[in-house]
Structures are given as C-alpha cells and as structure tokens.
C-alpha cells in the first residue's frame, strides 16, 4: 500500500519561505509544492486542522505566493488601474482605496493565465498571485504594462493567513484596527508594531485575514500568533479541503488556460462596466470570447458535485450521463473528503445542458460508476464579515 500516494520525497533545490524553520520546529510534514518545501500537515493531521479552522482559528504560511506592487509612472492610480484592465475582465478603476477584488489574467482565447487579488493601496495597486504562476505573471505584466507602471515584485515579504471564527479576536490583540475591517477591506496596518499589509480575506470560506509582513519579522509574528491558545498551524492539506468545501477554484486544476471565466462559473467576478454595453466594455485579452459567452452562455460549466455514497471522487475522474454509456460528458477537476460536511465533495466540468442543480451523473472510480448529483456551491456556507 501507500503506492498511490503522491511522491513525498523531497526534490532538490526546493525554495524555502521565511517560516520554513518554524514549520520544522512545529512538526510540519514537508512536501514539494510549486517549487517550495511546504508543510502538507502538522501533528494534528488534516482532519483536525480543517475542523480547527472552522471552529477556532488556523495560521497558514502562504509566503510562496507572489506579491507585486504596481505603481503608476504618472503618479495617478487610475492610469495603473486602466493599464491592468487590459489584462483582466474586472473593473479595476472602481476598486476604492482600501478595498480589494478577485480577478483573472486572461489570454487571447479567453482562457485563464492565473487568478489573483487586486488591492487599491491609494498610490499603487497591490497584487497577490499564485506561486506556480508568479514568474510568468511578472513577465506578463512587464510585457504589457511597463509603459504605464513600475512593476515591483516583493520577494522580501512573507504572507500569513489567519482564518476562522476566532481570527478577528486573535489578530485584534496585535492590531486594534482589525475589528472595524469588513470582507475585502485591506491596506497598511501595524501588527504588533510591525508595518504590514492586512486584508480581511482568505481561501477557506470563513472569516479571516491575510497579513503581508517583511520576511525578517515573519517568524516572530507567526510565533506570537501561534502562541495564542485558539490558533493551530494549518498545512496545505487542510487548505485544500477548506477551499474545496467553500467552492473556491484551485488554479491549474479547476481553472487554467483552457477554461474561460464564464466556463469556470466566475461571471460574478466580471462587473457590468466591462461587459457589453458597459462604460469600459471589453478591451481585455480574450474579450470577444468572454463577452460572447456572457451573452449566450458557454457550452460547458464548472459545477459542484456531491457523491451519493461515501467514496471520495478525486481529480481526473471521468463523468458520464448514466451507468453504462461509453461517452464521457466531463471530468472532475477537484475532489476529496469534506471534513465539515463529513462527506465527499467534488467539482468538475459538465455540458451546460447537464449542469443544473440536482442533475444525476456518474463518475468512474476504480472501474465502477459512482452516482453523484450536481450541487450548489459553496458546499459549506461562507461566514465572511460583509
């Protein structure tokens, strides 16, 4: 046994985040992830870590993600926002100071190059991008925005996520401003007298914060947060099961260059101003395809899936309309066990005609057809402080 597990042997030349020593000291089981040596779990294990975040608070090291400042050469933030709008279908101009928004870099075919968060920090935009894409994202920004913006990667900053219902009370001990923040508020804050960028956001579906902190002070701050009795360190395993229950996409799995934001069921993230008839309609990479799909619908769609039985249905399982047909109708892109639901959950792509909630489909797992149903997402309700 143990044969079908992912290869856990350390690859050479893995990068380390500023919290690497802390992971080792706290018993982190380290695995390669996006070129970094990262904790997949600690001694509590994925199940307990997951439930601890839902019931209390958990600390995640997400320092492998890319942090990029986008500064307008003109000094006018709107010029940086307008420039970035060439690369994303979102309204960046309308992001108010101290607010942030979810966005996607699209390609000419309307596919997704990466998904990211864009924050307005007053005099510049602050971007958080996926670890596996950050080099390409920086090159993409330089290729298209260098005339309008200074593109400044911030590799000397760590990123710590503190998530769960007790995240606010814990962080408030170190930063009195945080209770006044609401979901997607962000900006410079002093946390334990350290100059940080704090946002009220995360990747778990629960309330929580992300704290960008200078690398040299990251270990000390993380240690202080972990010393609070409500807080446990949380690895990538629970990060994945938490975001899956929240119905949130994992780039490279649920969305990628072959899926558009409409196919990925991310229309909610495209504001009216960028759509047909809007004040700045189109003008982003892949606009023809994306705007057409917004008008008439896409042929396939990302949906939530709930297996009828107890067996997890995992990534790459093939989907069928019935128990016997030989023609596949789709694929599972993420799947596993949802500890808060105490049940397996998955997401995947189905033809739009077969994507309605309640539609019965079958997934092939170890040669058997397992019945599933299309289900609304999030699987576990969000608890954002709006």
């Amino acid at each position: 046994m143990l044969a079908r597990q992912e290869d856990l042997s350390p690859a050479p030349a893995l990068k380390q985040t500023p919290l690497h020593a802390l992971h080792l000291a706290r018993g982190g089981k380290m695995v390669p992830f996006a070129g970094y040596d990262m904790p997949v779990q600690y001694s509590a294990g994925v199940l307990r870590e997951h439930l601890h975040v839902r019931n209390s608070a958990g600390l995640f090291d997400v320092s492998h993600m890319g942090q990029i400042a986008l500064r307008p050469r003109s000094g006018r933030l709107e010029d940086a926002a307008l420039a970035l709008e060439q690369l994303v279908p979102q309204d960046i101009v309308a992001i108010a100071p101290g607010r942030q928004r979810y966005a996607q870099f699209t390609n000419q075919a309307g596919g997704i190059l990466d998904d990211l968060m864009v924050a307005n920090f007053g005099d510049h935009l602050f971007l958080v991008v996926n670890a596996a894409c950050k080099t390409e994202d920086e090159a993409h920004l330089r290729a298209h925005l260098s005339d309008a913006c200074l593109i400044e990667p911030l590799p000397d900053r760590a990123l710590i996520a503190l998530q769960g219902p007790k995240a606010e009370s814990v962080l408030a001990k170190f930063c009195a401003d945080v209770p006044a923040m609401r979901f997607m508020n962000c900006g410079p804050r002093r946390v334990d007298s350290i100059d940080c960028f704090v946002s009220r956001s995360g990747y778990t579906g629960d309330d929580g914060f992300e704290i960008s902190v200078p690398a040299a002070q990251a270990g000390a701050l993380a240690t202080k947060l972990l010393d609070q009795s409500d807080v446990l360190p949380i690895g990538l395993g629970a990060r994945d099961s938490l975001r899956l229950e929240a119905g949130l996409c994992l780039y490279g799995h649920d969305i990628d260059t072959t899926t558009t934001p409409v196919e990925g069921a991310l229309e909610w993230s495209i504001q009216k101003s960028r759509r047909t008839g809007g004040v700045r309609a189109g003008g982003f990479a892949g606009a023809d395809r994306i705007l057409s799909q917004l008008g008439t619908g896409a042929s396939r769609r990302r949906v939530g899936l709930r297996p009828d039985g107890r067996a997890p249905v995992r990534e790459n399982a093939t989907l069928f309309a019935d128990a016997t047909s030989s023609e596949s109708i789709g694929t599972v892109t993420s799947g596993g066990f949802g500890p808060s639901l105490n049940a397996p959950v998955a997401m995947g792509y189905l033809p739009s005609s077969q994507a309605a909630t309640g539609t019965a489909v079958f997934a092939e797992v170890r040669g058997q057809r397992l019945p599933m149903r299309v289900a609304p997402m999030p699987f576990v309700p969000n608890t954002y402080k709006r």
Partner: protein
C-alpha cells in the same frame, strides 16, 4: 498464532489456514486520517500482490494488496462503517479481511515483528 508483516505495511495474523489481514500502525500514521475504506467481496479469490482493498485519507487514495494468494472468507463491515478505526486501532479492530491460505509457502517471504521494526526504522 503468528503475526507476519509485508514490505507494503500490511500485517497478517495466521491461525491455522486462515490469515487475518490489516495495515500497520506505521501505515496509518503515513496515511493520515482515514475517511473511506473499500473491502473485497466475500468469496473473491485474490492473487498475491493483487489490489484487494482501498483506503482513503482526506488527501489521497491507497491500495491494500493481497499479501498472499487466497479466498476471502470474511470482511470487516465495521471498518466500512467507521473508517477512523484504521487510525485508532490499526493492529486490532481495524482488520480488513480474512483469507483462506492457499499456499503456506508464500508465508516464508514475509517478515516477523523484529524484521518489520527494522524495515520501518
């Protein structure tokens, strides 16, 4: 009664011509929290090294291979109902299935407890 071990982290308790099979405590510690177990059908004939059962944690699925050739006499339905038994009592209540041993010479290649302890050290 003898307990033997495989390099794939399964244990076999030998009583006459019946072998009770489970996974070791070391295996469960590597798997993490077990959330699903699939067992073979009673009466199925298993060949040595054939995939016989499946054990899934939150994160991943793993096969349990038949450590020897034999017919499945009985499976542990309690384990299907409560997969977490693998974590709490891997060497006891979390037995997977019982096999009628078809060739006792296959037992010769297995490890005793001391050899298995060295294998996982």
């Amino acid at each position: 009664m003898t307990t033997l071990f495989t390099t794939d982290h399964e244990w076999l308790r030998i009583e006459g011509d019946v072998a009770t099979v489970g996974v070791t405590d070391y295996a469960q510690s590597q798997l993490g929290d077990v959330v699903f177990v699939e067992l073979p059908k009673t009466g199925r004939s298993l060949k040595k090294a054939e995939a016989a059962a499946v054990v899934e944690s939150v994160k991943a699925a793993s096969d349990v291979y038949a450590p020897i050739t034999g017919e499945v006499l009985e499976v542990n339905d309690a384990l299907v109902a409560e997969p977490a038994l693998v974590n709490s009592d891997a060497g006891g209540k979390a037995w997977f299935f019982k096999l009628k041993i078809s060739d006792k010479s296959e037992l010769d290649g297995l490890m005793d407890e001391a050899a298995y302890a060295k294998h996982t050290a």
